[in-house]
């Protein structure tokens, strides 16, 4: 089975992922040289991480913390 383009896969799953508690961002990333889906979390707790699938439509999902994004005025 041929994998769908990662941008198509992202567009199908972004809303669902962004609604999960603790998820603050979803992007196209890379694991080594291979494309992956990168999920940013506001808190890297096992409970939140446990809810994120390890693969989506054949693409590995990379979960990272540090996603407390805010506007950067002084």
């Amino acid at each position: 089975m041929k994998k769908a383009n990662i941008k198509e896969v992202l567009s199908r799953h972004i809303d669902g992922l962004m609604e999960m508690p603790g998820v603050t961002g979803v992007a196209e990333g890379k694991l080594g040289e291979k494309p992956c889906i990168t999920v940013f979390l506001s808190a890297n707790t096992p409970e939140i991480v446990g809810r994120i699938p390890s693969h989506i439509e054949g693409y590995p999902v990379q979960v990272v913390g540090g996603g407390e994004f805010k506007a950067l005025a002084s």
Partner: protein, 423 residues
Amino acid sequence: MRKKHLLSIVLALILVLPVAMVNASPPSGGPTGLENAIAVKDRHADTLLATPGVAGVGVGLAENGKAAIVIFTEKLGVRGLPASIEGIPALVQKSGEFVALARPEGKGPKNNSPVVTITSPPDGAMYDTGTIIVFSGMANDIEDGDLSAALSWTADGSPIGIGQSFTISLGDGIHTITALATDSGGKTGTSSVTITVGASPTSWQTRPVPIGVSTGHPDITAGTIGARVIKDNKVYALSNNHVYANENHASIDDNVLQPGVYDGGRNPADAIGTLSAFKPIEFSRRANNVIDAAIALSSDGLLGRATPSDGYGTPKSAPVTAYIGMPVMKYGRTTGFTHGQIYVIDATVNVRYSSGVARFVHQIIITPGTFSAGGDSGSLIVVEGGADNNSPVGLLFAGSSSYTIANPINDVLAYFGVTIDGE
């Protein structure tokens, strides 16, 4: 390199041992059998040294005071080594462990790192352009003692001097000063301070002001001038909506200041332009915001097109599209000239503002976390190195302690119908 160093330590120990032996032993030819052990060691040294994992061979005293052949290994658990040779016991020592034997004071096998202190300049110091700055520091090492005379100093990674104290002047800009000491065991210790020479990006700047410095609407704290952009022969300052339009609350024709109010900017005395246009931000977790951007009408006399002299200079006009791994740089009000790389693209992110959370799509995310901080909002992000060096990629607007987020610059320029006034 590391292995070579290890071997030189081992060789030094082999030389040291017989001396310690003479001091501790009965008169020459006594019962310890040192000479015989040395002869046996010499006959077998080549064979032992050919064994994988063996770093050296020596002669020392066993716990019972009798001579022993000591086989130094690079790690524990080297196989195939004899327990005795020609009746003389053979002791296996991991090279690192043997250091303990050579230190009868009982300091243990650990080599401590030197501790470095910078006594001048103080962290955060500011100097006028051209000031001769005194650099001085101390380095102390538990094993080696005072290493201050061998301190190695750098400014932003480039060497500026060696020793306990010296003077030199540095160019304008924010500089990270690091003093490094290396002990005889190869362990290093460092200390760093950050100093500013000349006008800092937070200061009031001589008009026309450079890009990459403090700016803002009178009702906000401070952000950064990203670039000078042009349209129909008019000159504009580019920054974020949340810097120039106060998260949709500002009115067209409001002044924008340099520096921002947080940095002492006064309205209207420090105005460099007036708000011309901004893209409203939709504060919703379901929104599809792409840009947080605004432009302020300025002039050639008030706004330049290059960063301060310690930055990347003038950006190129033609933007490029981000890719994962792209090396980038920016000059901003808070962290100055920094370097990073693009970590992910096409990011959908929720960003917190004073007015609430807004979702952005198609964003660029950059690492490391030190690439930006609060006050850098509005900075232009450009490519570092290669054929596209200085080409604009993104407009910095948000981030966390680990990441920086930027709008694709193409979308920013297209929305206002402007081009970057670059080379």
